[in-house]
């Protein structure tokens, strides 16, 4: 099924592991070189930034190509729709060709072509048929994205197909009143089942090339489980399908789930030392806080920020000090180097910081009276 030769992908993994072992000085340079020769791999995967560049340029080139096609074709909805579909198929062909001849893998060009191919075909079908219901639309997206994931092991396609699957359930159940009432529970059950399935699948060695995609799918399943029980989501989705907003039934249940699920995720993440649970839980903690604040203005925002900030600082400080000496297999010390190739020591943290605390630019005319906010979030406008 997968377009790449198994041996190439396997060798690629061996080389990665060897490089990691070399950087930790577990193997010597000579051993690394021997592995390098024995496990050769001619897949072309450029640096991350080159990948981004190639992605953008491929999109540009493809859109220009499409533009030329449209120019030469003349008008007419029918021919235009056919043209889009033809172009999508052409993009798939180009993708296969590039993979066979140039051996590209996660190179930017392949990501772009896959995305373009799918979206062009969907657009074409939409132009051709006068009316497609959302159910059909989700089904088409699901089919194409799933194909993209299975054949090219593309992670974005894995996420798209998961989202499309959720849409499918949503539109299917949204049609009847009983379905609407059951929707959150169905999504929760589906999420749990799929989470277990993805976990099982990623343990299979036959599916080893899909592992990174399956990790993302596990995160997606955890997220959809939370979303299905989150008060805000349930209320808004309910308002969307039943066309009248307002308080919803079982409010207590949703509020419990909103607050409890992130904590359970974090607890499980710590218990099982599972990064997927831990990071998802940390992220959803913020979602829970925002949900509560959206409905209950217990405190003004700035006070909440100050209190939360102080608690975070104190808690993190305490944990860092406490775990200075490893306890229960945990440590606060750095053991795995952050991926140096990816960010190349770019001051990402500094940029986020500069963005959050941007100073107001000086007015062009000197001598204009100035009065306000040189700094501080929200104070950036500065009245002068």
């Amino acid at each position: 099924m997968i377009v790449y030769k198994h041996i190439d992908l396997d060798n690629r993994d061996v080389r990665k592991q060897a490089a990691a072992a070399l950087s930790k000085k577990i193997i010597t340079k000579e051993e690394f070189d021997r592995i390098d020769v024995a496990y050769s791999c001619d897949l072309y995967t450029p640096n991350f930034f080159v990948r981004v560049g190639l992605f953008l340029l491929t999109v540009l080139a493809a859109l220009c190509c499409l533009g030329l096609f449209v120019l030469t074709s003349g008008g007419g909805d029918k021919s235009l729709g056919g043209l889009f579909i033809f172009f999508g198929v052409l993009a798939y062909a180009a993708l296969e060709l590039f993979i066979y001849t140039r051996r590209i893998y996660e190179a930017g060009t392949d990501d772009a072509l896959l995305l373009i191919a799918g979206s062009m075909i969907i657009t074409g079908i939409n132009i051709l048929s006068s009316h497609i219901d959302p159910l059909m639309e989700s089904g088409m997206v699901l089919a194409l994205a799933l194909w993209g994931f299975v054949r090219y092991a593309d992670r974005l396609m894995a996420l798209i197909s998961y989202a499309a699957f959720l849409c499918l359930i949503f539109y299917q159940l949204g049609e009847s009143p009983i379905g609407r009432a059951l929707l959150p529970f169905v999504v929760m059950v589906v999420s749990v089942v799929l989470y277990l399935l993805f976990t099982r699948l990623s343990a299979l060695s036959r599916l080893r090339f899909y592992r990174s995609g399956l990790v993302l799918l596990r995160v997606a399943a955890l997220l959809s489980f939370y979303a299905a029980g989150n008060y805000y989501v349930v209320r808004e989705v309910n308002a969307f399908i039943s066309h009248h907003s307002g308080a919803i039934a079982l409010g207590f249940l949703w509020w419990t789930l909103t607050g409890l699920v992130p904590i359970l995720y974090i607890v499980r993440g710590v218990q099982k030392k599972d990064l997927v649970f831990l990071w998802t839980g940390l992220g959803l903690m913020a979602a829970a806080v925002f949900t509560v604040r959206y409905y209950y203005h217990i405190l003004p925002a700035e006070l909440a920020m100050i209190i939360c900030g102080s608690i975070l600082i104190a808690g993190a400080w305490f944990l860092i000090r406490w775990l200075h000496e490893p306890k229960y297999g945990f440590t606060s010390a750095e053991i795995d180097d952050p991926d140096p190739a990816l960010l190349e020591g770019l001051p990402v943290e500094g940029l986020i910081l500069a963005e959050s605390f941007r100073p107001a630019a000086a007015p062009p005319e000197p001598g204009v009276h100035y009065g306000g906010g040189t700094s501080g979030g929200g104070g950036a406008g500065g009245g002068y």
Partner: protein, 327 residues
């Protein structure tokens, strides 16, 4: 480490007994590190706390009578700097590692609350008078001193954005294009000049080895500022756009050679893309002028083919940097 894999490599005679033993020992003693998680929480905490304090001051700027908030902010500032001065490792012109993992965040807390404090002070008591320049100049100097003295990249970024604010520009990632309105001639030249100054300073930093690891920050801000301002100039000065592009391309060439030499994929990509935008603008204008006929088709043809060309260029540059790697 994948132990079965290492056993297989060992059986194939590719790695020694010792290496296999080390891999097993590594995996056996492996701890679950919360390094990144805890630091992220700490960072969020600092941002939330200082952000909240900033808003409190901003909202109540006319009504704070009892000064309690101010005292609170002053206490945080003094406490943070006291901690940093006490804990810091000896100053050096090379990279100095932070004494512990909390140090960087406490320093950040101190610097941010100091900024809030100075901002309020200026508003309330006009300590810098009506002189806006001075009101941004003083925080900038303090930030630069703190960045160099305590060796902190985040504070350095703050200092550089303050420097730009002092020059009348807003150069944070999201506001660079949006807020400056680069049609103003003064801003275009200020931007280009400041960009060049930052780039030159970055180079000096690495050549003289004055905190050489600060170079990336200077180059990053300088590069984006320069190219955005220069492209704005290209779009603004109609009459001399060919000349302008030639100058832009020349500087881009120089910067690209530098970036390849220091093997930075990121800077190479940025330079290539910015220059490509300028090139496309120039070529499309030439086409517009030269042809009466099907300008759209010609433009699309040009864009399509040139995109392929630039993609090939990127691949070649990538390979070139890699080859440098093995030298």
């Amino acid at each position: 480490m994948d132990i079965p894999l290492f056993k297989k490599l060992h059986a194939e005679g590719l790695i020694s007994d010792q290496a296999l033993g080390q891999a097993e020992a590594y995996e056996g003693s492996r701890l679950f590190s919360l390094f990144r998680e805890l630091r992220l929480l700490l960072y969020l905490g600092v941002l939330l706390l200082t952000g909240g304090l900033g808003i409190v001051v901003y909202k109540n700027i006319d009504t704070i009578g009892h000064q309690a908030v101010l005292v609170f902010i002053a206490l945080i500032t003094v406490g943070s700097f006291y901690y940093c001065l006490r804990e810091k490792t000896a100053f050096g012109w090379d990279k100095v590692e932070a004494p512990n993992s909390i140090f960087d965040y406490i320093l950040l807390l101190g610097c941010l609350s100091l900024l809030i404090f100075l901002g309020y002070w200026q508003y309330q008591y006009d300590i810098f008078g009506n002189n806006y320049g001075l009101a941004t100049f003083i925080p900038m100097v303090i930030l630069f001193v703190a960045a160099y003295y305590f060796d902190h990249l985040g504070v350095l970024s703050l200092a550089v954005t303050n420097l730009a604010a002092w020059a009348g520009l807003s150069i944070t990632p999201l506001t660079l294009i949006k807020e400056n309105g680069f049609t103003d001639h003064r801003l275009i030249f200020t931007g280009m000049l400041l960009g060049v100054v930052l780039l030159a300073f970055g180079r000096l930093t690495s050549q003289r080895r004055i905190k050489a690891h600060f170079e990336t920050t200077y180059t990053n801000f300088g590069l984006h500022l320069f190219f955005v301002a220069a492209l704005a100039g290209l779009f603004t000065y109609d009459a001399i756009y060919l000349l302008w592009f030639a100058g832009l391309a020349g500087i881009a060439w120089y910067l690209c050679v530098q970036a390849i030499r220091r093997r930075s994929f990121y800077f190479v990509l940025m330079i290539v893309l910015y220059t490509y935008i300028g090139l496309c603008y120039t070529v499309l204008r030439l086409l517009w002028k030269g042809s009466q006929g099907d300008i759209i088709a010609l433009g699309l043809l040009w864009l399509g083919f040139s995109a392929f060309g630039v993609a090939a260029l990127l691949i070649r540059l990538n390979r070139k940097i890699h080859n440098h790697d093995s030298l």
